[in-house]
């Protein structure tokens, strides 16, 4: 059932902080935050949520670090970038839970998409441009940069040498593509759907092809938020688990699309948000059936598995964003709040999946987090 359990905490479990400011970025996968706020899932856990839309991931980071927001819908990789201080300020960070898997895509300009679909060979299609191709993604250490680089490298295109990779805010990406300033982009929905609707480009790959059920957005906070307000953090995870569970029903996803279309959330017509949020893709376009964005899937989505974090650290090493003698496994396990998550999951009656998960990625390599050094050594295309 989707109804939350009656509140039954003792005084000792009461949230230390009851008003929570939650940052989010205008994307379809902010749906759990929208649902939690609109339906006030927090109230039964003693929390009042306040949604604070952010114009950039840099603003999410700054406001988490300054304490202006308590927690946020954040790119998995942003948390690790801040933990390591890559290109900016450093802070000890926490991943409270995973908010969604899948749901991002790669769009190519119309001529490039046509060349790619005809030859089936990306390298050849890019060469037809006769100049270095320009690709946009969303944040230097973010998920979209990593999906894009992995996808290119798997097809023999070196993401640091053969293309120029820039960051453009998602709403402007579609404009830049339409104006011919970009040849391709990797971004979350609804922006790929918007690009298709405006006939600025075509979706040629969804991210589930790159890594089936890859981790995407997380609920992030500073680590001291969890230490200072453990009951609040647990109550927040319970709240968001209930929101994620609520989103598993197609009817509810259709409902939330209407909300997400509002100017204060995404500000894009509902017709461009709903289909892909419901997993409805034009399947003829894709070699493999796209996996829909998932928010819950009986709890398989949400466990903050340290090996997911380790994947990002391994990719940072691959692309020269991280070097030197760090204990990557220790970094990932300190960020991933597994103990607190297990408590919250038990209270919310959510199953915790197995610690080890093995997936086959687009290049045929298997990732299970058990031997990142060997995995790194195996990459032919790297910085």
């Amino acid at each position: 059932m989707n109804t939350p359990k009656a509140a039954s905490h003792s005084a000792a479990d009461k949230p230390e902080k009851t008003h929570i400011r939650l940052g989010f970025v205008a994307l379809s996968d902010a749906a759990p935050l929208a649902a939690a706020k609109i339906l006030e899932f927090g109230h039964s856990h003693g929390l009042t949520l306040e949604l604070c839309r952010q114009a950039s991931w840099a603003a999410v980071r700054d406001k988490l670090l300054s304490g202006e927001i308590d927690a946020a819908h954040a790119l998995y990789g942003l948390v690790y970038g801040v933990q390591l201080g890559i290109g900016g300020p450093q802070g000890d960070m926490a991943v409270l839970m995973v908010l969604n898997r899948n749901g991002q895509a790669i769009t190519l300009s119309n001529p490039l998409a046509e060349a790619f679909n005809q030859s089936g060979n990306l390298k050849q299609a890019l060469a037809s441009l006769g100049r270095p191709p320009v690709f946009a993604q969303t944040f230097p250490t973010g998920t979209h940069a990593m999906w894009l680089y992995y996808w290119l490298a798997a097809q023999g295109v070196h993401p640091l040498r053969d293309i120029r990779s820039i960051v453009i805010p998602p709403p402007q990406m579609v404009d830049a593509l339409a104006e011919g300033q970009l040849d391709g982009l990797c971004v979350g929905e609804p922006w790929n759907a918007v690009a298709e609707a405006r006939q600025a480009g075509r979706t040629v790959a969804v991210t589930s092809e790159i890594w089936p059920n890859h981790p995407e957005k997380v609920l992030a906070s500073r680590r001291d938020f969890v230490a200072l307000y453990p009951n609040t953090a647990r109550a927040l995870v319970q709240t968001m688990l209930e929101a994620c569970r609520w989103l598993d029903s197609p009817a509810h996803r259709a409902d939330i699309s209407t909300w997400l279309a509002a100017p204060e959330l995404i500000g894009v017509p509902r017709e461009l948000i709903a289909p892909r949020l419901l997993g409805d893709y034009d399947v003829v376009q894709f070699p493999k059936r796209p996996l829909p964005v998932s928010f819950f899937d009986e709890g398989a989505v949400n466990y903050p598995r340290p090996s997911d974090g380790l994947w990002f650290l391994t990719q940072y090493r691959r692309w020269g964003l991280l070097s030197g003698d760090h204990d990557d496994a220790a970094i990932a396990s300190a960020i991933s709040q597994t103990t607190m998550y297990r408590e919250a999951a038990a209270l919310a009656d959510v199953r915790v999946p197995d610690e080890i998960r093995a997936d086959t990625l687009i290049d045929g390599r298997i990732w299970d987090g058990r031997d990142p050094a060997a995995c790194l050594d195996g990459f032919a295309v790297r910085a």
């Binding site: 939350p4 609109i38 109230h43 603003a59 700054d62 670090l65 300020p89 969303t138 230097p140 250490t141």
Partner: protein, 191 residues
Amino acid sequence: MLRVLLVTDTDKPIGDLRQALARLGYDMLAEVATPAALPKVVEEQRPDVVIIDTESPSRDTLEQLAVMNETAPRPVLMFSNDSDQQLIHAAVSAGVSAYLVEGLEASRLAPILEVALARFAREVQLRQRLAEAENELADRKLIDRAKRLLMDRHKMSEPEAYATLRKRAMDQGVKLAEVARQLVSMTDLLG
């Protein structure tokens, strides 16, 4: 003198800063108003300092340049007791973000940030925040009252009361607080 780049892609009056900073002797580069134009300007004109609205979506473009290009300015955001750091914090809360090339003292930003701060009306922001917080509290009380009404008069459990309010909110396409408001005012009307 420091080479300063202003990014003016939002409604905030950062543009006014140009004359003020030029008067202080800073070398002001031509302003940039789109994220797509940023990489070229940063690479070719080599600014020491970039000043940008905290709420600008173009900030992530600067973040990428900071990671990929060693000579590009990096975000400045540190918090300690140092008075310069307090100034940086004040600037961020007021909506001014600064990027500075590596190797330059953060203190050299101080006069720039002071001028920028003076141009932002922080008061407005704070007043807005207070009003939002009061609304939240009022909504919360309303929802609790509506829930209790359903529990008392219709013998519902707390989860049932919630589920009823939620279903109605979804069916009508309005916020939960709005459903609560309707229910409470109907009850007040009918007694």
